[in-house]
């Protein structure tokens, strides 16, 4: 694979760091390059959480970029990620989204694999090519690592160690989003295919202007103190205290925004890991937004909600009730975010640059300590993207 977009050579990226050329959202060749350099390149991709595959034999089907993968909790207790392609002729080994079984059979020629990826058997192998050995035909495994049960995979041998890639600053907040110790259980999914480029999705999920959220105002619910911390390699951590209103007149059922706050959060925590994954803990809701690009113009997001293993029944119920109605593609607070993705995608098919403004004191400098609601938090990620893709920046 050696995808190339003429845009990378023809386009001069603006000298001002707060200006993003809109052409990068609408170029299918560039998208192919992004798949190679970012999704199949030396970055960790979030593919699953152990809470989705808690028992031996449990599996989940997912994607890295456009590549189908299979996450299997093996009979030895290890969670592995494989290409979801038979080692024979390449048919999908599994088509169910989730399930539990200790053997995986490709229906095409009945090749059979174990939950740890080894080949168990293949009929008529006495007629196969000379030197055929079963042990050479296991499912093709992908390099993985875990943090608090969150399963990362990378197709590159050059990807740094997971903790180094995340950076020290992210480890503690990421653990807190994952319930402190990662002992989570799945509550269920909301899945949406947004008609927008993956960069438009990730640029506007996680960060979003509070102006967009009338719910905050109507609830007399202000953001409180908060911070955002971008890293040089494209991750961002958002943390905020939530000042809860004394009473909620707006809702007939104010339990929607109860904050039992038993554990690890000061209210609101959002982490965006490069390139495309967003994790949130808002009030008592634990949410990982597993995402992948379907094509240049579509981004599929699987909002997965979790409870902690130690939750009593009341807490588990509370998280479930909050998960479904508060955030997500029809959530009371977040519907407007979902509404903006497609709108931005279509608006980006126009000349010129998208210009970030709030918090930009010097357009020629990146700011790694933006204020809570500044737009500047996204700019280090754009600069990292620009360098990865090889766009040259104008001098003036």
């Amino acid at each position: 694979m050696n995808a190339h977009s003429d845009l990378v050579t023809s386009l001069e990226w603006p000298a001002n760091l707060n200006e993003i050329p809109k052409a990068v959202f609408d170029d299918p060749d560039l998208y192919k390059m992004e798949l190679e350099k970012i999704f199949y390149g030396p970055e960790w991709q979030v593919v699953a959480h152990r809470g989705e595959v808690p028992e031996k034999g449990d599996f989940k089907r997912f994607y890295i970029g456009e590549m189908p993968v299979l996450v299997i909790h093996g009979e030895d207790g290890q969670v592995r990620v494989f290409h979801n392609a038979c080692s024979h002729r390449g048919a999908l080994v599994e088509t169910k989204n989730r399930g539990s079984q200790l053997e995986f059979e490709c229906p095409y020629h009945r090749w059979l694999f174990s939950s740890t990826g080894e080949m168990i058997g293949c009929p008529n192998s006495n007629q196969f090519s000379p030197g055929f050995k079963k042990e050479n035909f296991g499912l093709r495994e992908i390099r993985t690592d875990e943090y608090c049960g969150l399963v990362f995979a990378t197709l590159s041998d050059d990807t740094p160690d997971l903790k180094e890639w995340m950076g020290e600053r992210m480890l503690d907040p990421l653990a807190r989003i994952l319930g402190g110790d990662g002992r989570l259980r799945l509550l269920g999914y909301q899945k949406v295919n947004y008609a927008c480029n993956w960069k438009a999705y990730v640029d506007n999920d996680g960060y979003h202007a509070p102006l967009l959220h009338p719910a905050f105002k109507l609830l007399n619910w202000q953001g409180g103190r908060g911070s955002q911390t971008p890293t040089e390699n494209g991750h961002i951590v958002f943390e905020a205290d939530l000042t809860m209103p004394d009473r909620v007149d707006l809702l007939d059922d104010p339990s929607l925004i109860d904050f039992k706050g038993t554990d690890t959060s000061n209210g609101s925590l959002v982490i965006s890991t490069f390139p495309i994954t967003v994790l949130t803990k808002h009030l008592d809701m634990l949410n990982v937004r597993f995402a992948f690009p379907r094509d240049n113009d579509h981004t599929e997001v699987h909002y997965a909600y979790f409870r902690h293993e130690d939750d009593d029944e009341e807490m588990a119920r509370h998280r479930l009730r909050q998960a479904s109605n508060l955030l997500g593609p029809s959530g009371m607070i977040s519907l407007e975010d979902a509404a903006i993705f497609t709108r931005i995608h279509h608006g980006n098919i126009s000349p010129g640059n998208a210009i970030f403004q709030k918090g930009v004191s010097d357009p020629r400098q990146l700011n790694f300590t933006p204020a809570q609601n500044d737009e500047t938090g996204n700019l280090p990620r754009w600069e990292y993207y620009r360098k990865l893709m090889g766009f040259r920046r104008a001098q003036s």
């Binding site: 989730r98 269920g188 999914y189 899945k191 949406v192 909600y305 009730r321 998960a323």
Partner: protein, 171 residues
């Protein structure tokens, strides 16, 4: 399905009068949603005790309760009207839905309560005039029928496990 079970749940297993009242309820429900009339939607539910859920069949089959919408009490159904009419007003692009229903099963649960299953397809049309399928699935309902029919509980189960857009309006 055995002949016995089928005959017990066929539409003709309940009286024509009950069927007519349920048909009116279903028609009022979709007419309200397709004209973005959230108060009309609310009026379809039993105000003493009712619930509305909208979730994927994938979750439903696995016993995972998370939904796109999870209104497990009448207060939450009232709040959903406020989400659309007040909280979200002016923040989303309008889209036109058209619901198409086909009742498949109905059965008496005793007294004035009935269970009913009704297939649905919901089309949506955006500002550009392009029409696509929003979701296909089945309503699993409990309906109170006493002169007028009202939803005691409605579960909209979506075969469409990945919806093509965010959803403002209930299904």
């Amino acid at each position: 399905m055995s002949d016995q079970v089928r005959s017990d749940t066929r539409l003709s297993s309940v009286s024509r009068d009950v069927r007519d009242q349920i048909a009116d309820l279903q028609a009022d429900y979709i007419a309200a949603l397709d004209s973005q009339d959230m108060k009309g939607w609310l009026a379809s539910f039993d105000e003493n005790n009712s619930s509305y859920f909208c979730r994927s069949k994938e979750n439903e089959d696995e016993g995972l309760e998370v939904g796109y919408m999870f209104d497990d009490c009448h207060e939450r159904i009232c709040d959903r009207v406020k989400f659309v009419d007040e909280i979200w007003a002016g923040t989303f692009e309008e889209y036109q839905t058209r619901h198409f229903l086909q009742p498949t099963r109905c059965k008496s649960l005793g007294e004035d309560l009935y269970s009913a299953q009704t297939n649905f397809t919901v089309m949506y049309t955006d500002d550009a005039g392009i029409t696509k399928v929003l979701a296909s699935g089945c309503y699993d309902d409990e309906i109170v029928v006493n002169g007028v029919a009202r939803l005691r509980s409605r579960k909209a189960v979506l075969d469409t496990n990945v919806v093509p857009r965010y959803m403002v309006y209930p299904i």
